[in-house]
């Protein structure tokens, strides 16, 4: 027994209340016990906590230790520039924290939007008197009064109704109004007609209900609770960055510690070793990586916006590229949501029927389409019927006496119309539902008994229309006496005369078949979730190329009976369609797919889609038809509601991931020429060839814009022809590290040391001779080392544009941003080398053009060595 299955008296007894309502004292007690009737935001982490977390991850802690040690050293050894270093490292921590925060930031407003759907005041009966109280003070057991236009404040069991109709769209996603009554119901609570749900609206009539759930315990609160608490977890990119930073942190610490000990055993002072250890950590950490990733994602989101996909969380840009399953709605996303009548099947072949309704008469009059200033407003299906009827029979003069609205149990709607001076009941609805209330049919203008053979014939027509992908409606009428008063739909809808069927088409969007083909080639599965019947869904799926074989089709009622394991088995199939489904089931589908390791994108537009949108790796809301709640819960908004836009966004996401790998390769290459000078300094007793500030100049300065330009590379030709990358695939792969650390990096390191020793030798430096940090020869030598890194990194940008394609086949000028990035890089280096302020900050000194020129061959060496590697890769290895 549940609340909706009880009689009125049992409801009073169970909820310990009466027709006089609660007493004020009891209401107060219950308010204390059950709390205010309001939607709370559970588990919301304040923004400042999210920001602070960016300073406490593993790499940040390592850098904090480095910064603290540097600042501590300043007090022990003043004037060695350690304070500047400490501050610089702190700056790096802040820069990384800010950029990561921006990357992960997302305004969480879905629950706020939900709150707007609840009323502020409500009428209740307490101590036998009607009172208006703030809706937040409603408690379980309160007797509430509702009339047309009121929003329902809490889940309530109806005890009295007068033609009460509500719009349950926020809960069910269905825009049709539902008539309610007080009779006990034994089925599911959500389908019960004696229950008013919080967040819904009274469309007409009035009623009294006893509140049995308030606030977060209502069905509406359940949506809010799920929307506020479920999350998709870390994005693939966030997980990868955590892994990379851990690898780097351990690598940097281990290298620093090992060479600190080596320095100690070969007789270096503690101070020298300490400086070295900090330097090796700073050199190992790619300080510019996180800012570059963030900016690259931001650029990706801009490009997606131009393709009508609005991204709300930056990390979603890359997540899109990893999507392996798309769960999509049909109507409006795969199809145009522009209904039109395609087929009319009438058993009556006579052209004109005197003083009797035809199929188009019913289509026109049993219809709620409104003509407002020349525009037709209403449900797309009804508009299509209205248009077809007007085209066929023109306008009719008829007065509507009564309406029995559509509901999901009856699956039909009826009106009583006065036409030709008589009263008629006009009914339209699902064919099986209409046939069940018909006893006659119209043939040759005569009303004839509807026998089994005719029923079978109608059923065959119905199936053939559905197999064409059409939504099928049946039409019927019945004449009644003018004096006859009919109160309930069941009395009206019986012994009716069957008129025929109309098949309506919602044509697929023209871009969809191509987009589905792309998904197939890209190894992305598409699962259609629709409210339509199986045959219609299958026909559309065939038409757009969504299914090739025999798909598994699961209807909503079967879905409900399935255990998670059974559903898991179904979802592992290649082609799956869910028909006659409501949005609330999407969360379960998404959950199971995610548990199986899939990366899921799901579309949605209604309030009750919000939890699924939040749970999916990529929640996609419809920009045109979507509710505010869905838009706030989603990661991406489709500005054109078009499925093809999702596929474009996935292509962009895959490109972004590929490009991130390109600039990681570029950034990591420069780590080696930053580390090697420190090793040489410890092992060979030479002056330090590159200072820590110069390392930061590369990582956070000159490398940044060229790396970003790599982030804007166009997609490679086969990007949508490979399966989604495996969750096990690493961003930082072994081949990528080998290429950066053992191939490109060493060339750059050689160039750096060559430049350094070239300048020292030029001025007669002898091996073993240590130079003051302010010595001009030393300053020029480190400047040459830094310049060598910059010059070779210029060549490296071109080398990193592709892992296997030659730059000559890509086109040297095909990415103009590269040249903007390089211009910035060179201008910044000019500033560092030739401007007094640059000299002061980075401990540099101007060098002659001659030195630039002798470093150029290293750039050419790197460029052609990489071209050769790519050639071998293409011709020999592959």
């Amino acid at each position: 027994m549940k609340i909706h299955s009880l009689t009125k008296e049992e409801v009073f007894q169970t909820l310990v209340t009466s027709e006089n309502g609660l007493t004020e004292e009891e209401a107060k007690k219950r308010f204390t016990e059950f709390g205010p009737n309001e939607i709370e935001e559970l588990g919301k982490t304040p923004l400042f906590i999210k920001f602070i977390k960016q300073f406490t991850h593993f790499l940040a802690i390592l850098l904090w230790i480095g910064a603290c040690l540097a600042i501590l050293s300043e007090s022990l050894h003043p004037g060695e520039g350690m304070l500047t270093l400490g501050l610089a490292i702190t700056g790096v921590i802040f820069i990384n924290a800010i950029f990561t925060f921006i990357q992960e930031y997302r305004a969480e407003k879905a629950v706020e939007k939900l709150k707007l759907l609840l009323p502020f005041h409500v009428k209740v009966v307490r101590e036998g008197k009607v009172k208006e109280i703030p809706a937040r003070e409603v408690v379980p057991g309160d007797l509430i009064l509702l009339s047309e236009g009121d929003k329902v404040p809490a889940d309530s069991r109806l005890i009295e109704t007068k033609f009460l109709m509500v719009n349950n769209a926020p809960l069910t996603g269905e825009s049709e109004s539902v008539p309610l009554d007080t009779s006990p119901y034994t089925g599911d609570l959500i389908q019960s007609k004696n229950i008013l749900f919080a967040g819904t609206t009274v469309v007409s009539g009035s009623g009294k209900g006893i509140v049995f759930a308030t606030g977060m315990r209502t069905e509406f609160g359940r949506i809010a609770q799920l929307t506020g608490t479920v999350s998709s977890g870390l994005s693939p990119l966030q997980k990868e960055i955590i892994k990379i930073t851990r690898v780097i942190a351990v690598l940097a610490t281990a290298t620093g510690a090992i060479f600190f000990l080596i320095g100690h055993f070969i007789g270096r002072t503690f101070w020298e070793n300490f400086l070295f250890a900090i330097g090796i950590i700073v050199a190992n950490v790619p300080e510019g990586l996180l800012p570059t990733v963030t900016l690259s994602l931001a650029m990706g989101s801009q490009r997606m916006a131009k393709r009508k996909a609005l991204i709300k969380t930056l990390t979603s840009v890359e997540t899109l590229g990893a999507v392996s399953v798309i769960c999509t709605d049909k109507t409006g996303t795969l199809t145009q949501n522009k209904m039109s009548v395609k087929r009319v099947i009438s058993l009556d072949e006579s052209k004109k029927i005197e003083n009797q309704p035809s199929i188009f008469t019913v289509a026109l009059l049993c219809n709620n389409t409104k003509e407002i200033e020349g525009d037709l407003k209403g449900d797309p299906t009804e508009i299509a019927l209205y248009k077809a009827a007007i085209d066929s029979i023109g306008h009719l003069d008829s007065e509507r006496v009564k309406e029995f609205p559509f509901d999901f149990d009856r699956k039909r709607m009826s009106t009583i119309n006065n036409l030709y001076g008589k009263n008629f009941i006009l009914t339209k609805g699902a064919p099986e539902s209409i046939l069940s209330v018909c006893s006659h049919f119209l043939i040759n203008s005569e009303i004839t008994s509807l026998d089994t053979s005719i029923r079978e014939r109608v059923s065959l027509f119905n199936h053939s229309l559905m197999d064409e992908g059409l939504r099928v409606l049946a039409f019927a009428f019945k004449e009644i006496k003018s004096s006859e008063e009919i109160i309930v739909a069941e009395d009206a809808e019986k012994d009716m005369v069957f008129l025929g069927l109309i098949g309506l088409e919602d044509p697929p969007r023209p871009e969809v078949p191509e987009a589905i083909k792309k998904c197939r080639e890209a190894g992305i599965r598409i699962i259609m979730i629709t409210g339509d019947g199986s045959r219609t869904a299958l026909a559309i799926a065939n038409e757009i190329g969504l299914v090739k074989g025999e798909p598994v089709i699961i209807e909503g009622n079967e879905f409900l009976k399935m255990s998670d394991d059974e559903l898991r088995d179904i979802l592992s199939k290649e082609e799956v369609i869910f028909s006659r489904m409501t949005p609330k089931y999407k969360l379960r589908v998404v959950n199971i797919l995610k548990e199986e390791g899939e990366r899921v994108a799901v579309t949605g537009d209604g309030v009750n889609d919000a939890p699924a949108l939040k749970r999916a790796d990529i929640g996609i809301a419809m920009g045109i038809s979507g509710t505010d709640v869905a838009k706030e819960a989603a990661d991406m908004i489709l500005l054109d509601d078009n499925f093809a836009t999702i596929v474009n966004a996935i292509e962009e996401g895959r490109t972004v991931y590929e490009n991130i790998r390109k600039f990681i390769s570029y950034i990591f290459s420069s780590n080696i020429p930053e580390i090697v000078p420190y090793l040489a300094y410890v092992l060979f007793r030479i002056p330090l060839p590159l200072t820590i500030m110069q390392i930061l100049a590369v990582d956070l300065g000159t490398d940044m814009l060229p790396a970003l330009a790599l982030g804007a590379e166009k997609p490679s030709s086969g990007i949508m022809k490979t399966p989604p990358r495996s969750p096990k695939e690493r961003l930082l792969t072994f081949p990528l590290l080998i290429r950066a650390y053992l191939f490109l990096g060493p060339i750059e390191a050689t160039a750096g040391l060559f430049g350094f020793f070239y300048v020292l030798n030029l001025y007669g430096w002898q091996w073993g001779q240590m130079l003051e940090s302010s010595n001009i020869i030393y300053l020029q030598a480190t400047t040459a080392c830094l310049t060598a890194i910059i010059v070779t990194q210029v060549a490296n940008v071109f080398a990193c544009r592709s892992f296997k394609e030659s730059i000559f086949s890509l086109g040297i000028f095909s990415n103009r941003l590269i040249f903007i990035g390089l211009t910035f890089e060179i201008l910044l280096q000019f500033f560092i080398v030739y401007h007094p302020l640059g000299n002061k900050i980075f401990s540099t000194y101007p060098i002659s053009l001659n030195i630039w020129l002798i470093l150029l061959p290293f750039a050419f060496l790197l460029f052609f060595a990489e071209e050769m590697r790519k050639l071998i890769y293409r011709k020999v290895l592959k």
Binding site: M1, K2, I3, Q13, T14, L15, V16, E25, E26, K29, R30, T32, E33, F34, G35, L42, G43, P140, G141, D155, R157, F212, A213, M216, R217, G221, R222, Q225, L226, T229, V230, L234, K239, I242, K243, R246, V247, V250, S563, D564, R568, L587, R588, N591, E595, E596, G597, P611, P727
Partner: protein
């Protein structure tokens, strides 16, 4: 296992609803039901009447269901009076309701419910009522941790509650995510998780099978309190039966307390069960 069940009732609606759970358990166990109301000093007349009426309603309902029932009304300090009744009558399990204002207190320390659960020498079912519309639970969620004591009694209590309401039990375990330092969190499918199912949970399921209770199992790695709340809300469970917290104050402060979290945010009624019978 349970032949005498005591339901503590007072002037608050939640105590009456929690007593209804006791009725169904008594029915399933064939136990005698004791309904007690201990009036604290200074209680108002109207509160007294409300509690008396609640007792009457519970009594009538239990009698209608053919349960042997006894009402006890007393005055004094509720915890010590109930303790006396438990000892005198040889009560096996006490049903008592927590109040929202108890939950507001950290670790609901110092509350009657908490003190009672610590002091009475029998099992305790601490009931948190948040939804008075979900009267007869059809879906009972039972979150279990990896290591559980008194498996037999926990399974018995769950099975009898399910039997009483003819409900299906959903066993839920929320393990810590499987992580490796360099690889971070490793995704395991439910099938892979099932292979790692702790022994105590397997034993619990075995007992449910023995009692012939329809059940399903699920694993969802993550933060325990949050995972349970999401599971209960998304699957529309009607009742959660959970073990009492065994975390001490320091651990609760440092690591959080899932029971406390759930008491605050539960989407459906909740029974915090503290077993009192050692496994034989």
């Amino acid at each position: 296992m349970y032949s005498k069940i005591l339901a503590a009732v007072n002037e608050h609606l939640n105590s009456e609803i929690s007593a209804r759970y006791a009725i169904y358990l008594a029915k399933a166990c064939g136990a005698k039901l004791y309904i007690c109301f201990i009036a604290e000093t200074g209680i108002s007349r109207s509160s007294f009447d409300k509690a008396e009426n609640a007792m009457k309603r519970i009594f009538i309902k239990a009698e209608e269901m053919g349960i042997k029932t006894e009402s006890i009304t007393g005055t004094g300090e509720p915890v010590s009076e109930i303790n006396k009744i438990v000892k005198h009558e040889g009560i096996d399990i006490v049903f008592t309701a927590t109040r929202r204002e108890d939950i507001e207190k950290r670790f609901y320390a110092g509350t009657i419910a908490r003190t009672l659960s610590l002091r009475v020498p029998c099992s305790v079912a601490l009931v948190r009522i948040v939804h008075i519309g979900k009267l007869y639970p059809k879906h009972i969620l039972v979150p279990l941790k990896a290591k559980i004591n008194n498996v037999k009694e926990r399974a018995y209590f769950t099975a009898k509650m399910a039997e009483g309401f003819n409900s299906k039990v959903f066993v839920f375990h929320s393990p810590k995510p499987f992580t490796k330092f360099f690889q971070g969190e490793i995704h395991l499918t439910p099938f892979e998780w099932t292979k790692r199912l702790p022994k105590d949970i397997l034993n619990f399921i075995e007992y449910l099978k023995k009692y012939g209770i329809a059940h399903e199992g699920k694993l969802a790695p993550g933060a325990i309190g949050k995972s349970i709340t999401i599971e209960a809300a998304s699957k529309r469970h009607d009742l959660i039966i959970m073990g009492a917290s065994e975390r001490n104050l320091l651990n609760s402060l440092l690591l959080g307390n899932p029971v406390e979290e759930l008491l605050k945010n539960t989407p459906c009624n909740l029974i915090i069960f503290k077993p009192g019978h050692e496994d034989s």
